[in-house]
Symmetry: C2
Subunit: 351 residues, 2 copies
C-alpha cells in the first residue's frame, strides 16, 4: 500500500516540527508494511516575501491528487496575518471543502494542567469545529474609506448543508463515545445565525435519541472549560467559536505543543489536512526546542484517516507512554529542557 502525503512545513517552527516527524513516518511505515511518500512544498511567508504569493496560483491543483496533507504552521512577523492565512491555510480548508475540524483536548497522564486540582486523565473531550463558513466567510467590506465616517461590515454565513454536516458529525462521534453533545451558540445576541444553528441541532438530535444534548452560550462555555472541563464529551461549534474554544482546550490540557487537529473532507473528493493547533511561534524559531508532539499526534490522526489504524494507534500510544514517563525528555513548554530531536529519538524507542 502506498500513501502519498503532501507536507507543507510553512513558517516559523513549522519546518522544525515537520522535519521531526519524518523518522516517525519511516519507523511506522516499515513496521506496519505500507509505503508513505512525503512530498514537501516550501510554501509560506518566506515565499511571499520573495515572490508576493504564499503558494503558486495552481497550488490547490497541485495538492488535489494527494491522499492527505500535513501542515506545520503559518504566520510570520513581517507579513500581516490576513495575508498569510487567506492565501494558504484558509484556501486549503475551504477549497478542499474540509468541513469537519476535529480537535481532541486530552489531559495526558504525566502532564500538568494550569487548572488547580486537575490531573492526567481528568480531561478528555473532542471539539467538532465547523471549518468552511460561518464567521470566517469572506463576505463584507468597508464604506466611506478614509472619510472619517467609515463603516465596516463582516457577515457570517451559515448554510443548512454546512451546519448540518458538522452537527451530524458531532452526533455520530458521540455515539462512539459517551453519548453527549454540547452545542455552542450565542443565540441571545446573534439571533439571525444562532437560532438557525439551534434549529438544526434540534433537527439532527431527533435522529439520535440516545445522545443527550446540552446547549451552552459561548461565553459560558469559555468559563466552563475552566470550571468543569471534565464534564464535556463532544463539543460542536461554529468556525469562530470552535477556534476560541480549541485554544482554551489546548491550554487547559497542558500545552499548545500537544494539541493535534484534523481538517476532514467528508466526501473524500479532496485530501484532508492534518496540522498542530499551535502557530508558528516566532519567538523560539531556530532554538530547536519546539514541541513536536502536536504534529506527531496529528500524524497519528492522519494514519487513522488513511486506514492505517494500527499505525495511528501505535503512534498515539508511544506519545501517551512518553508523557507518562517522568524520566522521558520534555521540551520547555512542558517544563523540561530537552530539544525537539531528543523527544523524537526517545519516542522512536517506544514505537
Amino acid at each position: 500500500m502506498v500513501h502519498e502525503v503532501a507536507s507543507i512545513p510553512g513558517d516559523g517552527i513549522g519546518p522544525e516540527v515537520i522535519d521531526a516527524v519524518q523518522p516517525v513516518f519511516d519507523d511506522v511505515s516499515e513496521r506496519f508494511g505500507f509505503h508513505l511518500e512525503l512530498v514537501r512544498y516550501d510554501w509560506g511567508s518566506e515565499r511571499y516575501l520573495e515572490s508576493g504569493s504564499m503558494m503558486p496560483d495552481d497550488g490547490l491543483d497541485e495538492l488535489a491528487g494527494y491522499d492527505a496533507i500535513l501542515l506545520g504552521a503559518v504566520g510570520h512577523p513581517d507579513v500581516p496575518d490576513h495575508v498569510t492565512l487567506n492565501n494558504l491555510l484558509l484556501p486549503i480548508r475551504k477549497g478542499f471543502d474540509q468541513a469537519i475540524c476535529k480537535r481532541p483536548a486530552i489531559l495526558f497522564d504525566g502532564v500538568e494542567s494550569p487548572l488547580e486540582g486537575y490531573n492526567g486523565g481528568d480531561i478528555d473531550f473532542v471539539v467538532y469545529r465547523e471549518n468552511t463558513e460561518g464567521e470566517y466567510a469572506d463576505m463584507g467590506g468597508q464604506e466611506h474609506p478614509g472619510h472619517g465616517h467609515e463603516v465596516a461590515v463582516q457577515s457570517a454565513v451559515f448554510t443548512r448543508t454546512g451546519t448540518e454536516r458538522i452537527v451530524r458529525a458531532a452526533f455520530e462521534a458521540a455515539t462512539e463515545r459517551e453519548g453527549r453533545v454540547t452545542s455552542i451558540t450565542k443565540s441571545n445576541a446573534q439571533a439571525h445565525s444562532m437560532v438557525f444553528w439551534d434549529q438544526i441541532v434540534e433537527d439532527v438530535s431527533a435522529e439520535y435519541p440516545d445522545v443527550t444534548v446540552e446547549r451552552l452560550l459561548v461565553d459560558a462555555a469559555s468559563m466552563d472549560f475552566i470550571r468543569r472541563p471534565e464534564e464535556f464529551d463532544i463539543v460542536v461549534a461554529s468556525n469562530l467559536f470552535g477556534d476560541i474554544l480549541t485554544d482554551i482546550g489546548a491550554i487547559i490540557t497542558g500545552s499548545m505543543g500537544l494539541a493535534p487537529s484534523a481538517n476532514i473532507n467528508v466526501s473524500g473528493e479532496y485530501p484532508s489536512m492534518f496540522e498542530p493547533v499551535h502557530g508558528s511561534a516566532p519567538d523560539i524559531v531556530g532554538d530547536g526546542v519546539a514541541n513536536p508532539l502536536a504534529t506527531i499526534l496529528s500524524a497519528a490522526m492522519l494514519f487513522d484517516h488513511l486506514g492505517e489504524t494500527e499505525a495511528g494507534d501505535a503512534v498515539w500510544s508511544a506519545v501517551t507512554d512518553q508523557l507518562a514517563d517522568s524520566d522521558a525528555p520534555r521540551t520547555p513548554d512542558l517544563g523540561g529542557s530537552a530539544a525537539t530531536a531528543q523527544v523524537v529519538a526517545d519516542l522512536r524507542t517506544r514505537l
Copy 2:
C-alpha cells in the same frame, strides 16, 4: 444631593442580589450625606410570561430621566434567550448608547483562583468592551426557511464612531493605570471588520505616545488569560470578544459572583447602567445563597459615576476587607456556606 436610580431586579437571582444592596445604599448615603432614591421596576421574564413583553413599550422613556440604572440579571428557563435579551438588556445598552462596557477582573486577596499558583493581588486588569454594535448588530436574516437549502446571515457592523470611542476610552484609562493596552482582534480570519479595527487602534495610539499597544488574536487572548493573566492592564475588545473574555476574566479571578460591570453612556445624555456580569442562575434561585458582591461592586462603580467617589471607595474597600478576612461569611460559590443576608450584614459592619 439627590440621586435617582432605577433598579431592574429582573430574573432568577436578580431580585435577591438587588434586594441585598438596599441596606448598603442606605448606609453609605447616610454616611456620605446624599440622598439616593432607588425606584424599582419589576420588568423581566415573569412579566413576559404574563403579558408577552419584558417591559412596557415606553420602557426606555420611563428610564430616560434617571441618573443611573442598576440591573440584576436577565434570563429564564422558560423564555428563549433571544427574547429575554433582545427585549430588555440589549435595548437599554443600545437605546441609551451605552458604548463603553467596563469590566474589571481582579483577583482579590483571600480569593482562590482556579489557576494553579495564582494568589490574591496577582491579577488586576480591566476589559473595555464595545457595547452597542459589532457582532451584536441586529442585522441579518434567513433565506429559504423550511426548504432544506436555507442560508442564514448575521452581519457584524463596525462604525468609525463606535470603534473609535471604545478604543479612545481604553487608551484614556491606560494613562491612569500602567499605560498598556491590549487590542483584541481576529484580523487573520475576519479581514473586513478587524483590519478596520486595527487601523483605528493605530490612529488612536498615535495620540497616546506613552501608552504601549499589544495586538492579540482573540483565540490567543483566551489562552493568555489562562497562561499569563498577570500581564494585562487594559484590554480593549469588540462586543462579542469582550463578552467571551470578560467571562474568562471573571472565572480566573475566582467567581462569577464577584465580577461587576458598568455600561457607560459617554455623552451623559442618557443614564448609564450598572450590573453584575453573572446571569440569573436559575439553579440556585430562592436558596438565598446568591453572592451579592458583584452587584455591590457594581453599585460602587455606580457611586463613582454619580460623582460620589468617597461612597464608591468605601464600598469597594469594605468588599476588599471582607474577602481578605478568612473568618468572614462567604457564599457557596466562594467555597463558603453563608447566606446572601449574612454576607450583607457582615459587609455593613465594614462600611
